[in-house]
Structures are given as C-alpha cells and as structure tokens.
C-alpha cells in the first residue's frame, strides 16, 4: 500500500499547507464583528468548478494510486512473471501528449481571446485523444492475438485493468470536451469559455501524468528506479 500512502501524504501536505492559511489558531469566541468591523468584502475566491476539479482529480489520483498499490503488493509475491509491453503502448504516449499540448495551446489562445483558435485546439485534442484510444484497443488486440489475454497471468490482468481504467477516464475526458465546444458554439460569455477550456486542459494534463506513471510502473522502470535508490541509500549507509 506504499503507493496510496505516498499519494495521500502528498494530498495531506497540500491540505496542511492550505489549512495553515485558514486561521485555525484563532479564538472565534473572542472575535465578534460589528457591522463596521466586518467591513470590506471577502477575498476573491476561485470558481467552484476549479476547486471541484482539483478535488475530483484527487479522487481519480487516489483510484490509480490504489491500483498501483495492488499491483505492487501482488508483484511482491513469489510467482510474479513480467508482461511484455508491446511497442505500440509506448508509441501511444505521443497522441496523448499531443492531446495535452493541443489543450494547453487552446488554454493560452483562450486567455488571449482567440476563441476560434482555442476551439481548433480543443477539437485537435479530441482527435488526438481518439487516436490514443484506438491505439490502446489495437495494443489489446495484438496482445490477445499473441496469447497474452486478460487471464494469461497476474501481470497481464493488471495491464488490462489499469489501461482500461485509464482509457475510460480518457473517453470521459473526450465526452467532457464537448462542453467547451458547445459553449463556443452558443457564443457564451468569454470568461465561461475560458474557464471551461482551462478545466479541460488541467484534466488532460493530469491524464497524461497518470499515463506516464502507469507506463513506468507497468514496464518495471519504476521498480528498477526504486531498487536503484534503495541500493544507493544502503550503500551510503
């Protein structure tokens, strides 16, 4: 359960940082305001959707950290055999990277008010993400054809499970991209469009990050890296 605990530690540190700025040391029983002392307005707050997305990503992160935890726990048992990652899986990172870059570009364009260019970025992102999904399905077909079906062994089962979980989140992301496009079509308020694209870009960046971590774990690079760190620490001790 190391992965989920590490993830939750990061979340806890963020919460601690946030909470340290919330005046938890005040004595509310002594701090009564009058009409005059309450004075000015509260500090401007972030849009609820942005906070909502942040919390949602924490939930999604927790889901993947748990999957990785389960993978690591299972991989420690004696009978674990590796699983050959097909090259297509590596190559498939490119369309996902392209989708994320397209949305980052759309984010910048929307900030500058070029809504039409931003729309092109969003549609480009959708297309690239669709290519990614097609690539993943292709990878599954190749693997199954080569005798590595979902029941072929624990590593294989985890591969299918984790790529499916990630793929479903990507498909959800593609569906959600219809929202900024609909807003642009309806010629909504520019701020609303900007926010919508902003949220989408953040989500896609997160999906890319999750994919990179999954690739590192599934390919065994993460384990090799951690083992190396362990050796260095042991050596220095």
């Amino acid at each position: 359960m190391i992965a989920i605990l590490a993830f939750l530690t990061v979340v806890a540190l963020l919460v601690l940082w946030w909470i340290s700025r919330q005046g938890l040391m005040v004595k509310p029983w002594l701090e009564t305001d009058s009409v005059a002392t309450l004075g000015g307005a509260d500090q401007p707050r972030l849009p609820p959707a942005q906070i909502g997305l942040g919390i949602f990503l924490a939930v999604v992160g927790s889901l993947f950290a748990l999957l990785i935890s389960a993978y690591v726990l299972r991989a420690q048992l004696g009978d674990w055999r590796g699983f050959p990652l097909p090259g297509i899986v590596w190559a498939n990172s490119l369309p996902l990277l392209a989708a994320s870059l397209a949305l980052e570009w759309a984010r910048v364009r929307a900030r500058h008010g070029d809504i039409m260019l931003a729309q092109a970025g969003v549609i480009g992102g959708m297309g690239a993400a669709a290519v990614f999904i097609a690539g993943q399905l292709w990878a599954w077909t190749i693997l199954t054809a080569n005798g590595y079906a979902i029941t072929s062994g624990p590593a294989g089962s985890f591969f299918y499970l984790m790529t499916a979980a990630h793929g479903l989140h990507v498909i959800g992301g593609i569906v959600a991209l219809a929202r900024p496009i609909a807003k642009i079509r309806r010629a909504d308020d520019v701020a609303a469009i900007r926010l919508s694209i902003d949220l989408a870009a953040t989500y896609w960046l997160f999906m890319l990050l999750v994919w990179v971590v999954l690739l590192l774990v599934l390919s065994g690079w993460a384990a090799a890296f951690l083992a190396l760190c362990g050796r260095i620490i042991a050596g220095s001790g």
Binding site: M1, G23, V26, A41, P154, L161
Partner: protein, 589 residues
C-alpha cells in the same frame, strides 16, 4: 423564537461575492422529483436510506430469530442466514449510515449552515441521489435473482465470495459489487458538492472557524470518503473481473469437489488490504458527522458554548488523518509481520487520544450547563455513553494479543454495534428530533420521542451488553448454530434468547418513531422559525421550512461563531450568528 431581527444583513455593506445562479424548477417534476434543490435531495436521500434501512432491520430480526431460538424456525436455512447477515451489515453501514449522514444531513444542513443558497453543483447533486437510488434498487434486485443475494459476509472476502458453495454466488455477488460501484460513483458526485460548497459558498463573515461543528464533521468525513471509497471501488471492480472474466486478482489456486478451478496465483490478502483501506476510514466517515452533530445538540440544549471549539475542530481533522493508517488492525488474524501488528496497534490506540478529547469536551460543555432534557438532548447523552462503552471495548480489540482470541467472536459483533451501530443511530435520531421542526415547520411529539428514546437506549444496552459476555465465552460470530459447540455454555444460549426478545422490542419502538414522523407532519405543534432558540444560521431563515434559495432576497451576514449561548449581559440566552456586535455591549469583543 422566530423573531430574530434580520436587520444585520440589511445594514451591512452589500456582499461583494457574486450571487450564484440558482436553478429554478418549472414543473412539479423538477420541483419535487428530479429536483436540484439540496433540501429536496436531502429528504429523498433520507427517505430512501430509511426505506432500505428498514429492510436491514427486518433482516436483523430474522438473524436474531435463528440465534435466539435455533432449530425453531425452519424457513431460515443456513444459506438464508448468511444472506441475512451479509445484507444486514452492508445495508446498515453503506446504504443507511453513510447515505443518511452525508447525503441526508449533508445536503440539508451544509448550505443552510454556511449561508449558501444551495449546493454549488446542483445538477451533479441531483444525479448523485438518482445514482444512489439505482444502487439501492440493484441491491434490492439481488433478493430476487436465482440463488438470492450474496451470503459472503459483509466484508465479501474472496475466495469464498465467488465460490460455488457460497449462497448468492451466481447473481447476488455480481449485483452487490455493481451496486457498490454505483454507490461510490453517486457518492463522489455528492461529495464534490459538499466539499466545494463548504470551501467556496460560505456567506460573508462565515470563516472556517465560525462554522458549526456539524459542518466540520460532515466536511472532513466527506473528504475522507472521497479518498477512501476508491479502495472499495477498486476491490469491487477487481472481484467483478475475477467473477466475470476469469482473472485471478484475488483467487488463489483452488480445488473444489476434486476439480482444480481455472483460478491461480491470486491473493485474498490483497482484497483485505483494499477492503479495509476503505473499511476503517468508513467507521469515521460515519462517526465524524455524528461527532459534529452531537456537539451542536449538546451546546444548544445545554445552553452552553461548546467547550474547546478549536480543539474539537483539530480533533476532527486529526482523527480523519489518522484513520487512514490503522486499517490492518482488522487483519491481525490474517497473518502479518509482527512489526506491522505493532505499528497498527499503536496507531489504533493513538486515535483514542483525539477521540477522548472530544468526549471530555462534551462532558465539560454539559458541566454546569442549563441542561434541557429534550428528546434531542437525551439522544445526545445516550450517544456519549454508548460511544464511550463501544470505544473502550475497542481498546481491547486494538491490541494484537487480546484481539487474536477475541477475533471472530460475538465480542467483536457487540463492540462494533455499540460504537458504529447504536452510537451513530442515537445521533441520527437526536438530529431528526432537533431539525425536523426546520424541515417541516412542526415539532415531533415529545412524549412519543421520550418513549422512543428510553426503549431504544435501554433496549440497545440489553441487546449488546450481554452480547460481549456471549463473545467472551468464545461463541463465534457468523455461525448458523452454536448449540453443539462445547465452549458455548447453555447460559450463553439463554442470553441469546433474551437478546433476541430485546431486539424485537427495540425494533418495534422504531415503528413508534416512524409513526411520530408521519403523524407530526399534520398534527405536530407549530414550530416557528427557531423553536430551540439556537444560534446557527439554519434557524435564522426568513421562512420555515426554508424556501427555494433559502434566504429570500439577501444572504445572511455572519458576525460571530455558532456558540454564543448564555452570554453574560445579553438580553436573551443565545445570540444568533447573524447578529452584529453592538459597541459597548459585549465586553469580550
């Protein structure tokens, strides 16, 4: 006392926070059925949770029939008994307690208590309820599929959960897992609402440290649930893969009826880790809202400011954080490195520190208070006593060496029913008696309420106190029959019969409560806006029950914390949160 002046918001500078765009229903369907109003959603959650909770209550009677009078009721087969205990446990923990505290109380109270018009994502909030309802219906459907519901025990441990000798292994277990996954998806939508509303939609002046402890409890519990439920989700999906696709995540190599199954190499312990990584925080997901609510009940009905408010907030946060690193204390007998056992026993006992702080603070709030023994107060007091009792037996079970002999005995059943069954239910009842006047505009009958309290409180003790002793004799839990077990003496069997009779009496007292709920809707005394003379914002709404949008034209403005009771020199024994300080009147400011 509905006559709290509302001039505060009028005389304050206009709120510079943007007013949220409120969805306005246009038809009866969108107003009362597919409603996006958190108050309606809260009632929908509560009614559904009570509905399915009643099923679980009936199941508990059936369990007690078998345990109290083994061999008497032939319609209870061993298979059916396992199905009853499984469904009773899962429904009570997930579909009743979690849904009611977060979906019910969370939805009703958060927007009102923080001074918001509604939840920040009303559409997702509505979806949250409907997905919850589908989850409940899928669960209920499992009673009607061939083979019936799953009988794997509420923890659903593999491998037996999907093996052919376990009742409900055809359709029941699949529906259970699908239902849990749906519940979690629905909850996530609601949970995002509860947290973001607390963070972003508080009215002017409502700092975090002015929030009532009810909101703190629900808020932290929601954050925990958002992070812990994915563990159950992952476990459910992986088990579905094992069941439907033939993977072996949790299934080891097995021989059944002389035949080797196609499974191989899976780890049942992996499931236990995932399950309890959700399962232990779940205890506090239920307990923290209860802690929060009971703090507010005690302060209001003892007319005292809550003792150690800051400490109460910190304790809630610390308990929430600690509960993520104690999960393996449920797995002492599954086999683990002794150092891990030591670690988890230590963290488990450390949780007792912030919890004890809370208990002391409740008692110190009561100390020299002007205690009104109203029904909500009686239930709040009942909670404290029950929670302390249940918590103390937890100290036994938290220690590895004591847990090992007690594990899987009725002692464990008695412990968790005290601490996680009876105690939170006491708070739920207290909270309903407390807030029913706000929800309906009518008071619940105090006479019936007191009857309900005394029968429930005394009865629950007569059920679960003796059960500890039954457990200490070594009577195992999850056994269909314990009559022929040498270690279980006849006296334990006599106690079992007594417990069963008490369970029926307590169960029937709940029917009185339901009657009270329905009867008082039309016949209860008119409550007015603030019958308990309470300070927090939900009691200061312009209308009771609060209308759509909660606050009429202008949002309230908050000038003080939620616990200004019996302030020296004040004209009344409470000062509402939206009352500004008057220069020279309150020396402390």
């Amino acid at each position: 006392m509905a006559d709290i002046p509302h001039d505060a918001s009028a005389s304050a500078p206009p709120a510079e926070l943007g007013e949220m765009e409120l969805y306005h229903p246009r038809s009866w369907w969108t107003k009362y059925v597919f409603s996006q109003d958190a108050k309606v959603i809260a009632i929908q959650y509560a009614v559904t949770a009570f509905g399915i909770g009643f099923v679980a209550l009936v199941l508990s009677w059936l369990i007690r029939l078998q345990l109290g009078f083994p061999g008497t009721f032939n319609f209870i087969s061993p298979e059916a008994y396992y199905q009853f205990i499984t469904m009773h446990g899962m429904i009570m923990v997930v579909y009743l307690l979690t849904a009611l505290f977060l979906g019910g109380f969370g939805n009703y109270l958060i927007p009102l208590m923080v001074g918001a018009r509604d939840m920040v994502f009303p559409y997702a909030n509505m979806l949250s309820y409907w997905i919850y309802l589908v989850a409940v219906l899928v669960l209920v459907a499992s009673f009607f599929v061939p083979g019936g519901p799953t009988g794997a025990g509420w923890t659903l441990y593999p491998p037996q959960a999907i093996m052919s000798n376990t009742p409900g292994q055809q359709g029941g277990i699949i529906l259970m897992l699908v239902s849990l996954a749906l519940f979690i998806i629905g909850f996530t939508m609601g949970g995002l609402n509860y947290t973001v509303t607390v963070l972003q939609a508080r009215t002017r002046g409502m700092t975090l440290m002015r929030m009532p402890l009810t909101v703190w409890g629900i808020f932290v519990a929601t954050v925990m649930a958002l992070l812990a439920f994915p563990a159950l989700f992952v476990a459910a999906v992986m088990m579905l893969f094992d069941k439907l696709l033939g993977t072996s995540f949790f299934m080891p190599t097995l021989v059944e009826f002389g035949q080797q199954l196609s499974y191989g190499g899976g780890s049942p312990i992996l499931f236990q880790h995932l399950f309890w990584f959700f399962g232990h925080p779940e205890v506090y997901i239920v307990a923290l809202p209860a802690f929060g609510i009971v703090s507010d009940l005690i302060a209001t009905h003892a007319r005292r400011n809550i003792f150690g408010y800051r400490m109460m907030v910190w304790a809630i946060v610390i308990i929430g954080a600690l509960s993520f690193i104690v999960w393996a204390h449920h797995m002492y007998v599954s086999g683990m490195n002794p150092y891990f056992g030591f670690f988890f026993a230590t963290t488990t006992l450390i949780i007792a520190v912030p919890t004890a702080i809370k208990v002391y603070n409740w008692v110190l709030t009561l100390w020299r208070g002007d205690i009104h023994f109203t029904t909500p107060m009686l239930f709040a007091l009942g909670f404290i006593v029950t929670f302390v009792n249940g918590g103390l037996s937890g100290l036994f079970l938290g220690n590895v060496v004591i847990d090992v002999p007690l594990s899987d005995t009725m002692f464990v059943v008695a412990h968790f029913h005290m601490v996680m069954g009876v105690a939170p239910i006491m708070v739920i009842f207290g909270a309903i008696y407390h807030w029913y006047p706000k929800v309906t505009g009518r008071m619940l009958s105090e006479g019936l309420g007191k009857f309900h309290f005394w029968v429930t409180f005394v009865g629950a003790y007569l059920i679960f106190f003796p059960m500890h002793y039954v457990g200490l004799t070594g009577a195992p839990r999850r056994y269909f029959e314990t009559t022929d077990i040498a270690v279980v003496p006849d006296s334990a069997m006599a106690l079992n019969a007594f417990i069963s009779v008490m369970a029926f009496i307590v169960g029937f007292a709940q029917l009185v409560f339901i009657f009270n709920l329905v009867w008082s809707l039309k016949n209860g005394k008119h409550a007015g806006g603030n019958p308990w003379r309470a300070t927090s914002l939900e009691w200061q709404t312009p209308k009771t029950p609060p209308e759509h949008g909660n606050w009429g034209k202008e949002l309230p403005v908050v000038y003080r914390w939620a616990y200004d009771y019996s302030v020296p020199g004040a004209p009344e024994d409470f000062i509402a949160q939206n009352q500004p300080a008057v220069a020279g009147r309150e020396a402390s400011t």
